[in-house]
């Protein structure tokens, strides 16, 4: 299953055309001149220094914010409001403390159509699906625990299950592994890799971790800050399926180095002013 984006043909799934966004008329553009296309099933990662507009990009992509200039198209349609099909997960798991893990994962099915109208009737089937998903991320036996009874890494897994349970075509991850220790993080990389390989939804991953971006993504975008622009688009041609071992190969380390150098240059050229 080779997944270099150039191999995917047809209409782009996400299409940004010279998009800019200023949070308020007086402040400058948070991001500007963003033009890119993402194909269905592609795994893209955004890296860049803090404050460069990665989270802003996510909000534009999902329709939570409207661009002040340019247009965003998703699945051929201009984005005018929140998309309704997206799964999202953040650095903090944002699980609801009054719901058990299972019911947290079920939440999207209570909201998204067509599951919503079938929820009452097919609750047992849905719960079974959520259980299978939880088992896949290693949370078997924790279905009826409350979020505070789970460790940080377990909460994050549950949060990713919640983002996936309605089988979204687009998964948005904003530094989902940033708060975790290195071992858990690598474990969750593999978890995400496997689920993605199986279901092939489109993933937009925001991260500070260049190894994470390189290991998981088909395409890595490097962003610059003030204003946020796309500095470089980098295809990662490493063969799939990728094993964690690959992160110790020379090719991989080279790629990470090159990305690092790109970001290092941003820093250097920007600090003097």
């Amino acid at each position: 299953m080779s997944a270099s984006p150039s191999a995917v043909v047809g209409q782009p799934f996400i299409d940004f055309d010279r998009v800019a966004l200023a949070y308020s008329p007086s402040s400058g553009n948070a991001i500007e001149d963003i033009s890119l296309t993402i194909h269905e099933g592609e795994f893209v990662a955004f890296v860049g220094p803090s404050g460069c507009g990665k989270s802003t990009f996510m909000k534009l992509c999902t329709g939570l914010k409207r661009p002040t200039a340019g247009t965003v198209h998703v699945d051929g349609q201009a984005v005018t409001g929140p998309l309704k099909i997206v799964g999202m997960a953040f650095q903090n798991a944002t699980l609801l403390p009054w719901r058990t893990t299972l019911h947290n994962v079920l939440l999207p099915l209570e909201i998204v159509q067509p599951y919503r109208s079938r929820f009452r009737r097919e609750k047992a089937a849905f719960a079974e699906r959520a259980r299978q998903l939880l088992a896949k991320v290693g949370l078997k036996g924790y279905e009826h625990k409350y979020p505070w009874e789970l460790s940080g890494g377990m909460q994050q897994r549950a949060s990713i299950c919640r983002a996936l349970v309605h089988q979204p075509r687009l998964l948005m991850l904003d530094e989902p592994f940033a708060a975790l220790d290195a071992f858990t993080r690598e474990e969750l990389w593999c978890m995400l890799r496997d689920i993605w390989a199986e279901q092939r939804f489109t993933v937009v991953l925001v991260t500070h971790d260049l190894r994470e971006a390189t290991f998981l993504a088909d395409t890595v975008y490097v962003m610059s800050t003030h204003p946020g622009r796309i500095l470089e688009q980098r295809s990662i041609e490493l063969p799939r399926p990728r094993d964690l071992e690959i992160t110790y190969t020379e090719e991989f380390i080279d790629l990470v180095h090159q990305l690092r150098a790109r970001i290092g240059r941003i820093r250097k050229t920007e600090t003097p002013q």
Binding site: T62, L64, V86, M88, L96, P97
Partner: protein, 256 residues
């Protein structure tokens, strides 16, 4: 950690000590019953006037409960409106704060002009004094919703009502129940204040008239009856809070 047996009995012990000291002072210094009655004298008054006390206490109780019920309804509604819209929050909050800073006793004469002497002003005073903490708490619970949580729901196509029902309301429940404890005690204050000046029923009135005829033990009996009622209701709502929103407290323990 479980409280030890001694800790559990500590409040009762404190009450007993207080009563003994009180009694001793009254007897030792031969304080006149018309100034500061001893516990035994109060006890006597309670037994002697058990019938009237029960009647007036019942009056105060249901008056307070109606006022409190109104306060919960209005407080919840206002809290929902103010808490779920930034605009309404901005618009109404200063107004509410201003309103709340008026001493509610000042309303009683106005209420008497409008509704005459009796139960209605008492109900309304209880209501006016108790709805504010409910509004503030419910509004705070809703307004402090994490933006990420809202984003997660909105990109699923959730309407505002969905966000409110699935997240906002359950999240503000602990705030709501915490405010009920405060509100119920305030409601008792409102009722009694109004009864003392504008009623011929209720514990407030009983104390007022007993005071006028220099029956101090009966006045104190009234005080004790009110505080027992208010405390019992407080405990009831504290228990309800623990039952309904245990997750909030356990959650804090877990993350602390």
């Amino acid at each position: 950690m479980k409280p030890t047996a001694l800790e559990r009995w500590a409040p009762w012990l404190a009450v007993v000590v207080l009563l003994v000291v009180w009694e001793a002072i009254c007897r030792g210094f031969q304080v006149s019953e018309f100034i500061f009655p001893a516990p035994t004298a109060i006890m006597q008054a309670m037994i002697q006037f058990a019938g009237p006390i029960r009647m007036h206490a019942w009056q105060t109780f249901w008056t307070t409960m109606i006022g409190f019920g109104l306060g919960v309804l209005v407080g919840l509604l206002l809290g929902l409106i103010i808490g779920s819209s930034r605009f309404m929050y901005r618009a109404c909050y200063p107004l509410l704060v201003g309103f709340n800073s008026i001493p509610k006793v000042a309303f009683v004469p106005v209420l008497v002009v409008w509704f005459g002497i009796g139960t209605v002003p008492a109900i309304l005073t209880a209501f006016l004094i108790c709805f504010f903490p409910i509004v503030v708490n419910v509004a705070t619970g809703l307004a402090t919703l994490e933006p990420e949580m809202e984003d997660v729901l909105r990109v699923l196509g959730a309407k505002r009502l969905d966000v409110l029902l699935k997240v906002g309301l359950p999240r503000s429940l602990p705030y709501f129940f915490a405010s009920l404890k405060v509100a119920i005690t305030l409601a008792f204050v409102g009722t009694v204040v109004s009864e003392t000046v504008a009623s011929n029923l209720g514990i407030g009135y009983l104390m007022m008239s007993a005071g006028a005829s220099m029956r101090m033990p009966l006045v104190f009996a009234g005080l004790i009856v009110i505080s027992v009622m208010a405390m019992a209701m407080y405990e009831l709502f504290a228990w309800l809070e623990r039952r309904m929103t245990g997750w909030a407290h356990r959650g804090q323990q877990g993350s602390a």
